[in-house]
């Protein structure tokens, strides 16, 4: 029974994918989705049944453009919505990749202001035969031809999104225009938490990679220097962080084999789970060479530390 359900859901996904970007609105593309436990009143969900193009998105989401379609499951009673989207996203190496998502099951936002649904990952990025939850989409009821909301994907976000309703005859033929990138609000609260005791102390690196300089002999040092370079993510084989002082300053040590680098982070700021700082490579007084942007909380800080042309992905845990 479970397998039958899965086959039906996957079949429906494929049918929906085929329907995204089709000029004329079609009906009956979604079949096989089981009746959700929670019923959303049709008066609330009916205005969402449309095709959309992404017009604006938070810059942190890494989404360039996209199209989306919501429609009622054929023959469902009571009627329920299923959504499908095709986003073009920036890969870590800067290339454009296709990301396919379905949105199901929809539930009501508090106060009946709109709908929310889990974001399910489908297609090439999911393992065969699996539809995995990747985030959540929250949408306010459309106003005119505009629909606003937020999206969380890849375990990150939320980021603001804005869609425009497409007319029946409108189509971008699979090449939707680039959405406006909404700059993210910068955290302004000083430190990396409401209370210094939450973040002051010594941290250990928890995402160390294998040492590429091992067994390299005399070449180990130059390999260590080289592997610690690059905007695509330098190799980090070890490291530590110490946060102290008022205003708080963080000393970050990263190792790539026998090659050691030390950075000083100033202007620590936070907002929700967001953490930012200025990066200096020669002490507090030296000019900033980059930024740290990431997330944190409960003794954990993780994110990207940029120094010039190098980017270090680091995850620290308070000891």
């Amino acid at each position: 029974m479970k397998r039958l359900k899965l086959i039906l859901v996957l079949g429906a996904c494929l049918a929906l994918l085929a329907s995204v970007g089709v000029a004329m609105a079609t009906t009956g593309a979604t079949t096989g989705y089981p009746q959700p436990r929670q019923v959303v009143p049709t008066t609330l969900s009916a205005p969402f049944e449309n095709r959309y193009v992404l017009t604006a998105v938070g810059s942190g989401a890494g989404i360039r453009s996209g199209e989306m379609k919501f429609e009622f499951e054929e023959g469902s009673s009571p009627q329920f919505l299923v959504g499908i989207s095709q986003f073009y996203v920036y890969s870590p190496t800067g290339e454009i990749e296709t990301a396919l998502f379905t949105f199901y099951p929809f539930t009501e936002l508090p106060g009946g202001k709109g709908l929310k649904a889990p974001v399910l990952k489908v297609g090439a990025s999911a393992s065969y035969g699996q539809v995995t939850q990747d985030g959540e989409i929250r949408l306010e009821s459309p106003v005119g031809d505009t629909m606003k909301g937020t999206i969380r994907i890849h375990g990150d976000g939320p980021w603001p999104v804005e869609f425009r309703v497409l007319g029946d005859a409108q189509s971008y033929h699979g090449s939707p225009p680039a959405a406006k990138q909404i700059p993210e609000a910068e955290p302004t609260n000083p430190g990396w938490g409401a209370d210094a005791s939450e973040y002051v102390g010594e941290y250990e690196l928890t995402n160390a990679s294998e040492d590429p300089t091992a067994k390299a002999g005399t070449l180990g040092a130059v390999i260590g220097v080289a592997q610690g370079l690059g905007v695509n993510g330098a190799v980090v084989t070890g490291g530590s962080m110490k946060v102290e002082g008022d205003p708080a300053v963080a000393t970050v040590k990263v190792q790539t084999g026998a090659s050691n680098r030390e950075f000083t982070l100033t202007d620590l700021a936070w907002e929700g789970d967001k953490r930012t700082a200025q990066v200096h490579d020669e002490g507090v007084e030296s000019p900033p060479v980059g930024r740290f942007e990431g997330t944190g909380g409960k003794g954990m800080v993780k994110g990207s530390l940029v120094s010039g042309h190098s980017l270090y992905k680091v995850e620290f845990q308070l000891k």
Binding site: T218, A221, L229
Partner: protein, 156 residues
């Protein structure tokens, strides 16, 4: 009278045999072998590696702006090391493999230096994968070159 040259020849043969036996026997560090290194090569290579490792370690870890100069200096040092060990290498397979490893590294480091001059640091990193694949430390271990197998530790 005729027996004197025969005795002389016999004496020479005995002395020669003793000398050959003396050279061949005892001590594994004597002649060149197919596995490890000859004594001369090992001492030359180890001395060269000690000096090179010290000089590389003294360069420290460069900041972004100094990567190009760091690469230039490292290139010169590895090239010099290669020339020294190549000149001392015998016919052992392990030492030949170590010299070959260094020979492969030299043009790669040259490419990395050029990339660093153009501030293409991603290319510097990608090219360094070629250096990793050489496994020079393992080649040094196989050639019984202890110092050459060590990774220079930066002082800063």
């Amino acid at each position: 009278m005729k027996s004197r040259p025969v005795v002389t020849l016999l004496l020479l043969a005995v002395v020669g045999a003793v000398l050959v036996a003396g050279c061949g026997g005892g001590g594994s560090s004597g002649g060149s072998s197919k596995g490890g290194s000859s004594g001369d090569f090992a001492s030359v290579a180890e001395a060269a590696c000690t000096k090179t490792n010290e000089q590389i370690a003294a360069l420290g870890t460069p900041q972004q702006a100094q990567v190009s100069k760091y690469m230039e200096r490292t290139e010169a040092l590895i090239e010099e090391l290669h020339e020294q060990v190549q000149a001392a290498a015998g016919d052992g397979s392990a030492e030949a493999a170590y010299v070959e490893g260094l020979a492969k590294a030299v043009p790669l480091i040259n490419e990395m230096t050029n990339a660093a001059r153009n501030e293409n640091f991603d290319a510097v990193r990608e090219l360094s994968s070629g250096l990793i694949e050489i496994h020079l430390g393992e080649l040094a271990e196989a050639a019984e070159l202890k110092t050459c197998a060590e990774v220079p530790v930066s002082e800063s």
